[in-house]
Symmetry: C2
Subunit: 341 residues, 2 copies
Amino acid sequence: MLQNDLILRAAKGETVERVPVWMMRQAGRVLEEYKAVRSKFSGFKEFVKNPEASAEVTIQPVDIFGVDAAIIFSDILVVPEAMGIDYIMEEAKGPVFPTPIKSENDIDNTNLDVLNDLRYVTDAITITKRALAGRVPLIGFAGAPWTIFSYVTEGSGSKTFSKAKSWLYKNPTASHRLLQRITDATITYLHAQVDAGADLLQVFDSWAGVLSPQQYTEFAIPYMNQISDSLSKRVPVTLFAKGAHFSLPELNNTSCNVIGLDWNINAKEARLMAPNKTLQGNFDPCALYAPLTDIEKMVKTMVSEFGTQKYIANLGHGLYPDIEREKAKAFVDAIKDFGKA
Amino acid sequence: MLQNDLILRAAKGETVERVPVWMMRQAGRVLEEYKAVRSKFSGFKEFVKNPEASAEVTIQPVDIFGVDAAIIFSDILVVPEAMGIDYIMEEAKGPVFPTPIKSENDIDNTNLDVLNDLRYVTDAITITKRALAGRVPLIGFAGAPWTIFSYVTEGSGSKTFSKAKSWLYKNPTASHRLLQRITDATITYLHAQVDAGADLLQVFDSWAGVLSPQQYTEFAIPYMNQISDSLSKRVPVTLFAKGAHFSLPELNNTSCNVIGLDWNINAKEARLMAPNKTLQGNFDPCALYAPLTDIEKMVKTMVSEFGTQKYIANLGHGLYPDIEREKAKAFVDAIKDFGKA
């Protein structure tokens, strides 16, 4: 039994006595405790694949920040890796795929039977759930099909993702086939996360914003829909399409429970565009560079604009690595202060 | 006298018999003719500072693509350079400022008397105007104050511009002082461009999208307003705030004539948000990877959505270097076909 189910109730649109709060990338480089665990591993991937280490850093922000949810420490690129598209994490550059998808044959060679390879994630969830002992819910997650598609066709991060997008323009049929395969693998993976104990799921469409509205409608929304339709029967599902303000009316029509927002949109506009859903976000991660008193003021404004119901407080993107932990803590504390119903 | 003033009439909201068209970065790496001129110079900056070369590559796309306007070949970073904040153009990485603005003292040491240093741009405009001999109007341009601020405080391009944004959060007063200095220098510079013959001006706010709506209102709009108020008395002014869909209602209330749009917004939504202005854009540069017949179809759709009046056709961002020139030409030709009133 959960001792704190605020986020689940908010996600379902039920009444809450206070706004729940967590932070994207709450486990990570702002915490010395994280760095201590991370330093035991030579590479990022060895770290991610160690269920005990993953569980440990997942729980750290619950203890340190007092957030209302844990999110399993992992990476969205574990899915393409399990599909047979290997990546290297380069510290300065980010992920690189030495053999990106280049042909239709490459698409058909991807592996859909991903669960064996991803056992370390479901094990980490099991261990985390046991260690949390019901203190707060645990969020599972995956990358959205378009974002995974963009990495595996581009071969790395990119400002324009022009190789990935040129797939959509040059070969829409093959693009849909790859998107469907990623979707199938992702649905399988997310169900396994729920089986292992995830209480809520978030789908990250980090590169949504490089697509035009027309392309998002054609190449992203149908797959977001499939994931949401399959998973939201079991647990609340959050869809986060970063940079794609234009997608809110369509996301509002999916079966998801929560829509994540970046800091590029006002609460009022978002409520108008997505009136049916609980909204999550959208404090500018850079605003945590501000003095403590300014952070409190900005949090107060944000909560008053979103209101205390059908709302989950979060940042608009992940915590930046050079944010002082006191500032992150101040954000959480301010939500708890100003977020009372 | 101009033989083709379509873009000026469209900018002013006057009736046109056909939609005018030009392309951001129309002079550049997609053209062999450009590369031939570029190869005569060892560095990018030597090239930019040569008025004859600048004029030559400015005119090339008028001959080759048949666009309805030339845009002077230059760079937005010539202004901070003239203010005393030097940059290096690294081929792979983009611009780097070895000594970015780090203190209030650095701000006060910036130079406002920029015209002597920028003589090569006004010379290039004079030469270009003479060579164009009235065939099409010539567009002058500058970076928007926020975008220049972001480069000179960050020290380079960035995904998050967290150093630049942290200035706004940590020291808003000093930030305004630097933004005002950049604005003053930019206004001086743009007036000199008009004196030299520029028929229309565009202000590029390339990094608008990293700011929240509140920050854009506080740190960008007032300076865009100053530029527009000062220059639009003389020539039409276009404001382009890339990634900042939220800014359209505020841009609609400035004294500018034209608002530039990226491909992240639909024509219908943009018209609703900025009903007073001529709109410019917003074909996805990646869509030029598509087959020719698809490009024509997409152009037809775009023109039918924007309509033929109060509209200037363009891409939603600059041409990518690996686009085939035939595709760029097809875009221009399709506008001329489908853009008749």
